[in-house]
Amino acid sequence: MTDSKYFTTTKKGEIFELKAELNSDKKEKKKEAVKKVIASMTVGKDVSALFPDVVNCMQTDNLELKKLVYLYLMNYAKSQPDMAIMAVNTFVKDCEDLNPLIRALAVRTMGCIRVDKITEYLCEPLRKCLKDEDPYVRKTAAVCVAKLHDINAQLVEDQGFLDTLKDLISDSNPMVVANAVAALSEIAESHPNSNLLDLNPQTINKLLTALNECTEWGQIFILDCLANYSPRDDRESQSICERVTPRLSHANSAVVLSAVKVLMKFMEMLPKDLDYYGTLLKKLAPPLVTLLSAEPELQYVALRNINLIVQRRPEILKHEMKVFFVKYNDPIYVKLEKLDIMIRLASQANIAQVLAELKEYATEVDVDFVRKAVRAIGRCAIKVEQSAERCVSTLLDLIQTKVNYVVQEAIVVIKDIFRKYPNKYESVIATLCEHLESLDEPEARAAMIWIVGEYAERIDNADELLESFLEGFHDESTQVQLQLLTAIVKLFLKKPTETQELVQQVLSLATQDSDNPDLRDRGYIYWRLLSTDPVAAKEVVLAEKPLISEETDLIEPTLLEELICHIGTLASVYHKPPSAFVEGSRGVQHKRLTSSAGSGESVESPDTGSAAVSEAPPTVIPSQGDLLGDLLNLDLTPPTSTGPPPTTAPGMQLGAMDLLGGGLDSLIGDESEPPPIPLRTDTPQSPQPPHQSPSPPHYSPTEVAPGNHTGSLGGDIGGSPAMGTGFGAPPAAMPASFNAPISGGLDDLFDLGGGGGLTMGTYIPPKSVWLPAMKAKGLEISGTFVRRSGVIQMEMTLNNKAMSVMSDFAIQFNRNSFGLAPAGPLQILTPISPNQSIEAALPLSTVGPVMKMEPLNNLQVAVKNNIDVFYFSCQYPISMLFLEDGKMERQVFLATWKDIPNENESQFQIKDCHLNSDAASNKLQGSNIFTIAKRTVEGQDMLYQSMKLTNGIWVLAELRVQAGNPNYTISLKCRAPEVSQCVFQNYETVLKN
């Protein structure tokens, strides 16, 4: 055979010659000619001009020739629809042929001719073939329905082919079943809501039976279809699992992986304490390892999937570290994937081996691989604390090799190690500084700058080092510029005397000479911070950094769940949902794992050690996630707007912008129109929905997505939670209501409160200045908190000390320890003219979002007006939160007192208090601290008291008052001992005023 000669016909006039040959009488010549045509078609020549001549050859007994003509038809029918009609008769005739192979060939080819006119003629033959006596024809016809559906879905439905197809699921021949399943699955994908693949226990049973008998490919179709089924209960899912597990021993890795998919999915339904659950977990490991001895391409697919499986259920492969060791001859894509999994599996038990391997890899040739290996060493250090020291020394060894990219990569990871273990490995800084010159990649430069800034006080020539970077400031990448700015500000705050010039220089470079808004904004923030309040600046910039998490690069949990449902498919290879790369409606429904009812913990594995990891959220710094959550709720709308219904749209960036821009919207003008930030004008009656933090999962101070304001601010101002305190987004916007006139007389009450004459004389602390005018462009706010008939109010005096009128006030709180939040909007109806002061009372609720604050009763507030947004924090007396029904039954008190462990008890002294026990009791009752019993022992009065906080925490107290002794002793017992300090302070203030 020398068919290759057909590829070499390139002469001119070829088409003409071919035409003649095609019309030749000799069969052999005809066949030769058709072959030539197909060869030309293959190499991309246009031979459509020969259409009629080729179609003329269709009527033949020669099957080989027929197939060639069909091939030609499939290619060109679309471009010559009118002529394609000529072929219809032959098809119809062939569908009646005695030979089943020819019948099948006709029905197979027919479906590939995408010409509308033809499809109508094909319905009758197709209907016959679907009921053909020969299974070979039926299995081909089943696929043909899917083809026809792709061309004309309506026609398929009208003709009732779908029902026939469904019937084929019960066919006696397993291959027919498999193809019918494949066709139905595909059609169902384009009709997500049709109940086309009506999977019920009966059909499932049929599919499972066919599974044992059909070809390897058929098994894949069936398993992929099974994965879409949701069993009714755990028993059903166990019985399906039992029938699927034998597939794990199939030679075809696609069968294995599809079986793994079904098992991973149905396992969610199984109770963990079931023996079978453990058995199943054990059964999954060996086949996954076997996939690694397949061909490299399959290994790659398997590894990408194992990466997902390890994240979801780390326990399956935790003992299989060795099989992921890289072989010298592995293709690079296999090497990189193995490395990834090695890090995920690294634990204290195997770290020594892993490190030895990684060190080996760091000397290999491929640059990407080496970099990843170096990075992996750093990740090991962060993940397994015991190994940190060895990792650091390994990294230092690698730095000594002086291979440029190794050094740079090592510095980047060492920075992360510093973050994880502060004050432990700083001795290596000197070595790092030696390599300053050789760093040419932005990430490494930024990391080095961060280190210099962070440890400026330990590096003698930190200023010189940073200055050397400053020379080429404008040539640096944004990442480096931002880091340099922050580092110099840090340096200035640590060594203010010598570095004033330097900081001036960098601030002016950042604010005046740069076009980058991120850089400029950050520069301005620092500038203002430094010029208005250096102490605050110190708190913000040098704040303690949250620890970085152990696991990085984790896939976000909902995406992970979806990907688990797509094991084996392209989605699992790309680690992206199908919607990210598939066009149109096909296959883009989001799949979710269904877990057994009511057990959110089903994700957890039986051994708790490594399992917790799988549940960890992807955010590396939890507090940052919280902050972002807060920003989502930011609402600084003008009071006039009633606002649309609550949304938690991921408009985080906009919200954040608004925070920084400070009332930008109102400056722009139209006040009645709500600005395009996520609005949330309802009161937080319901707990906040959990936020999906959109921050990048792998977070480190230098890796901040440019252009993302929130990210860069939170990330780089020392990568700290300072954002919460400093620029903190006071969250959960709650405009408050208050009518100025009412408050008029209330002021007087302050004085009365001290008198103690009123029985219900709640102590109200005097107003203090919360926001001085100089910090808020002339707006001074002083205020206090009161609890009146069960309602907490924030009473404020707003004083306009500026020259212009202030209006459009709004208020928000940051999350706080007890969920305080405004219960209504801040109502200041009239603008405040210069030198006018106005009273406002804001009712508060305690159902807002909760975050523990330090001190506990700290409250961060943002107030907006037409000029800017201002932030301040104040402390509220904890007695605001004592409920009126805080009196405990005596018996309950006794039992509770005994029940609370002694370590939760704290004792305090209240000095210089001259009240007797009854007066004290009276006074305290005004603040909802109730005396339950009084006992006198040896001239000492013991008062037993209880109070209940709004969040349901009870505090029990024993107050000892000795006649003649101005010092009281108080013991507090509470299940949440953190509150004791606050409560004690409250006692002190109440009793002394």
Partner: protein, 436 residues
């Protein structure tokens, strides 16, 4: 599902192009050529997404096979299919090369039409396909009606891999246990990882539709039998059993039966096939131990000494022993002394290749080399690739033993005793590396 299948030569010229789905256009053929075959950088993944079309590719000698799709297909299946296609083509015309593909393009189109329908893989067992797709054109004209329905029932049937009515005068069975030992050893002789991947390959020439049962010294089976039968029995026979980590089977094996009873029963295909693959990691006999010694003498000289020790019964002979000792890129000359066999420095491979034809068990041999280096100013140190080794030994390093292979054919009058059975064990080196 698969939208199109293309075969290219090494230059990126299309040899075969078959489009199955409307969403794959003609330009997809060019997209792959431009972005992958002609790409300036080395391809870093066997799956590439080019303009929203995903391409899967494998390479066989100088021929590229690529499958294209725009849907979320089962990636594993696509690769399995591409390998299967290679198997089928090899079964039809031998090695896959540009010349062979061109010579058989009509046949390949015919095969592609048969084994892939609308992108769904169909029966692709060469044995079955050969009954109705032949290189000599088509048999159909001469086929009787019975023959035709026999073909179709076989292609779609439960036993798609065997046809009815096979007859042999002599019923014969050849069973090869072929294992490859993989090892990664540290310079100090510590085993970093070792596993055996084995295959049981059969050639069966049996009449009719024989039912076969295969038994080996699988630990689980032996333990079970030991418990069931008398304890003495197990102890007396003193059979060593092996722990199999995992195994996979040819599609003829009844997997559910294996899962429940751990017995391997099947109706074999006719001729050559691979019955099972397995993997073991415990108690592996490592046939050779490599002891490297590398000493850098100054900047321009390297002294290498490698000792190999054979670690198996002295009565057995290992064959085709080959040790590859990598040398630095700046090697200028090598002097070699070896006790046995021949050694040569191959500059093109940057390695010293030491070949020994035969070596008995429990022996030791040694090579020493002096490598002279050209002085370079390349700061980067030589990565010291591992020393690798090839060999062949006449036993199974995993310790696997075939216990029985029983054949039953109730319809024909031959019994298990009449079948002539041959068993052979071959142990080969897989990736057998020692770091130095």
């Amino acid at each position: 599902m698969i939208g199109g299948l293309f075969i290219y030569n090494h230059k990126g010229e299309v040899l075969i192009s078959r489009v199955y789905r409307d969403d794959i256009g003609r330009n997809a053929v060019d997209a792959f050529r431009v972005s992958v075959i002609h790409a300036r950088h080395q391809v870093r993944s066997p799956v590439s997404n080019i303009a929203r079309t995903s391409f899967f590719h494998v390479k066989r000698s100088n021929v590229w096979l690529a499958a294209a799709t725009r849907q979320n297909v089962n990636a594993c299946m696509v690769f399995e299919f591409l390998y299967k296609m290679c198997d089928v083509m090899t079964a039809y015309f031998g090695k896959i090369s540009e010349e062979n593909v061109k010579n058989n393009f009509v046949l390949i189109y015919e095969l592609l039409d048969e084994i892939l329908d609308f992108g769904y893989p169909q029966n692709s067992e060469p044995g079955a396909l050969k009954t109705f797709i032949t290189q000599q054109g088509v048999k159909s004209q001469v086929q009787s009606k019975e023959e035709q329905s026999q073909i179709t029932s076989q292609v779609t049937g439960q036993i798609g891999w065997r046809r009815e009515g096979i007859k042999y005068r002599r019923n014969e069975l050849f069973l090869d246990v072929m294992e490859s030992v993989n090892l990664l050893m540290s310079p100090q002789g510590q085993v970093l990882s070792a596993h055996v991947s084995g295959r049981v390959v059969m050639k069966s020439y049996l009449s009719g539709m024989p039912e076969c049962k295969f038994g080996m010294n699988d630990k689980i089976v032996i333990d079970k039998q030991g418990k069931a039968g008398s304890n003495d029995d197990g102890a007396k026979s003193g059979k060593q059993s092996i722990a199999i980590d995992d195994c996979t089977f040819h599609q003829c094996v009844r997997l559910s039966k294996f899962d429940s009873e751990r017995s391997i029963s099947f109706i074999p295909p006719d001729g050559d096939y691979e019955l099972m693959r397995y993997r073991t990691t415990k108690d592996i006999i490592l046939p050779f131990r490599v002891i490297p010694l590398v000493r850098e003498v100054g900047r321009t000289k390297l002294e290498v000494k490698v000792v190999i020790k054979s670690n198996f019964k002295a009565s057995l002979l290992a064959q085709k022993i080959e040790v590859m000792i990598p040398t630095p890129l700046n090697t200028s000359g090598v002097q070699l002394i070896c006790m046995k066999g021949k050694a040569k420095y191959k500059a093109s491979e940057n390695a010293i290749v030491w070949k020994v034809k035969r070596m008995a068990g429990m022996k030791e041999s040694q090579i020493s080399a002096e490598i002279e280096l050209l002085p370079t100013n390349d700061k980067k140190k030589w990565a010291r690739p591992p020393i690798s080794m090839n060999f062949e030994v006449p036993f199974a390093p995993s310790g696997l033993k075939v216990r029985y292979l029983k054949v039953f054919e109730p319809k024909l009058n031959y019994s298990d005793h009449d079948v002539i059975k041959w068993v052979r064990y071959i142990g080969k080196s897989g990736i057998y590396e020692t770091r130095c």
